[in-house]
Symmetry: C2
Subunit: 376 residues, 2 copies
């Protein structure tokens, strides 16, 4: 199949859009939430069940996969899709974000980032060219440019230095990626919280030409208010006919606000990580299953939810298995959380298509204002 | 439904039998392997997937459940079946084995066993009467008598003292259980490795009258040779028209040998526990997925196995996710191991029905003699 990579917008409501990213491995309905499958698994889930929640695409982490099991090895085994039993689209990050967070183990130069593996201490040199090669070996459908995620807060001169470096790396990523029909390369806008610098970054990326554009450097501690402030202008600086991806976001209300501001794609470990920690996300907000108030509660987590966790188990059971450290706790709560996230995305898509996004958002916040159901 | 508890033998081959234990919650095909769901979950499995492997019945642990979440609580929540989303038969042990193993935390008297909880240090007094009450509150379909599992090795006088106590407790268990149509009470034969004492124990139990009989006090360190020596006579001392249950057994070859010697029911944590430890059980024996020889192996664990683990994943993937400490490793290997165990039981049932058990056993041992597939 040589079908190419495309983005079709089906409807617009305010600044929000709904559409489809077409790839040879399947369509991605937008706004889309991508569950994170760091080390070739969405933790505590079988891939067919991730799909059943409504996920069209997964995210894989270049940093983790290059170290273990190794990109070359995954390639020789038939690629990441076959390796992890997921035949739909996969987006991989560039590894830049993770290596940068190894504060004491890495050295940043114009060339790239030298770092030591957290797995075995071995030395590696991640560059834009090498990142493109790794993502190609993995078989990623959507490849991300190698960039530096500007830390927050940053002074204007720090932000400029970082953005300029990322743009030079974007150029090198673009060249190294070359022309690969059916595969996409996304650029990443930087510029911290400076509107003009974001504009400049966007223009540089547009000049290079990408299949999609990420808003980078957010969700790094700036808080929702500041993030939304940047999202008032950053997405619209990027091409309207290409998918816009907000990396590493986020909580349900972050996603809703970002969709309202023109974002099409999201990824976040939150639903899976909080599931393992006993935290559930529902229409009513977040619910801590560790809390003793659930101990005798025969009601499901959310009686309106159709996921297997809510259909088959009581809050009392979820409380018990979490307290007992049972794996099924992670399995059920991750499943529920991913289901809730995908249901939220479907709600957003439907509302945009119907031109009723404002009402949807009002209702979303109203349900959360009421909060979780009363203890028995 | 008031259907009663029954056992029908459909075919006999040598000393081996195949049949069906009928209960109001469904049939149990024998010889049967019961996966262990200690704390109201078969670890790392959803119950519908345990069922899909072919399990007709699960085992729950009275000791664990009485401490957390508590039998009273489970009862108020609708019973163990509803609590853990398993609507087929459940057998519970009496708690005796686990409290006895709390060597430093328990005190044994004629009355029962006083012990401290490993969860919160609280003090409990488990007696035959209380064990019956807990198992009733849980809603167990097959209730086990409260007994002392005689340690191995035991002198003749130690074994007698222990067996006599267990028989007095069997009497009290029988009285406390009373008459509960649709529910079964199993007696447990003791007597260590002494044939006459086993006979005496069996006769005492038969006198009291039970719906099924367990061979107790085996799989406690005596080794397969000694276990089989006892199984040469112990099962036949028990009524031939009632199910015979060998508690806590075992490895595949233990099960095969015990079926040949007239055992109908088994339970063991081995397939699930070894799955979590990266050990797989196949026709060829056991395979350690931690071994680096699997690192680049694109072949499934067992190419003749139809479980989701073998259908969808390579040895390389299983090696990777186990090394990376991913939950999916426990999920996939537990699933495979339970599938393998149930397939073995089906093979045994079919062979007994066809009168070809000897050939089946010869083939079973031949495949294991060849061992695991050659490394790539």
């Amino acid at each position: 199949m040589t079908k190419n990579f495309n983005f079709h917008i089906n409807a617009i409501d305010g600044r929000a859009r709904t559409g489809v990213v077409q790839t040879p491995k399947g369509d991605i309905r937008t706004p889309a939430f991508m569950p994170v499958g760091t080390a070739a698994t969405v933790k505590a889930m079988l891939p067919e069940n991730v799909r059943a929640t409504g996920a069209d695409i997964l995210l894989g982490n270049t940093y983790h996969l290059m170290l273990r099991p190794g990109a070359e090895r995954v390639h020789n085994l038939g690629g990441l899709h076959k390796f992890m039993n997921w035949d739909r689209p996969i987006l991989t990050d560039s590894g830049g974000y993770q290596v940068m967070s190894l504060t004491d183990l890495r050295k940043l130069t114009e060339e790239g980032v030298k770092f030591r593996s957290h797995v075995d201490g071995s030395e590696h040199n991640l560059t834009p060219e090498y990142s493109m090669e790794i993502q190609r070996l993995l078989g990623s459908d959507i490849v991300m440019c190698f960039d530096e995620c500007t830390p927050y807060p940053a002074t204007e001169s720090e932000a400029r230095k970082s953005m300029d470096l990322s743009m030079r790396w974007a150029d090198r990523s673009r060249n190294a990626f070359g022309d690969r029909p059916g595969y996409a390369l996304f650029g990443i806008q930087q510029g911290s919280t400076f509107k003009d610098m974001r504009e400049e970054s966007a223009n540089k990326l547009i000049e290079l030409g990408f299949d999609g554009y990420a808003v980078g450097g957010l969700a790094v501690g700036e808080g929702q208010e500041m993030m939304f402030e940047v999202l008032e202008y950053a997405p619209e600086q990027l091409p309207s006919d290409k998918p816009r991806y907000l990396m590493g976001v986020g909580k349900p209300d972050d996603i809703v606000g970002a969709v309202q501001r023109g974002i099409d794609m999201f990824d976040c470990v939150l639903p899976s990580r909080s599931g393992r920690n006993g935290q559930a996300w529902t229409r009513m907000g977040s619910v801590n299953m560790r809390n003793a108030r659930h101990r005798d509660d025969s009601r499901p987590l959310d009686e309106n939810c159709t996921c297997p966790c809510c259909a088959n188990y009581s809050r009392a059971y979820l409380h018990h298995v979490h307290k007992a450290g049972e794996i099924i706790s992670s399995m059920l709560l991750t499943w529920h959380n991913l289901h809730y996230y995908q249901e939220l995305m479907q709600g957003l898509r439907d509302a945009i298509a119907a031109g009723t996004l404002d009402a949807f958002v009002t209702e979303f916040h109203a349900a959360r204002a009421v909060g979780d159901i009363e203890p028995l």
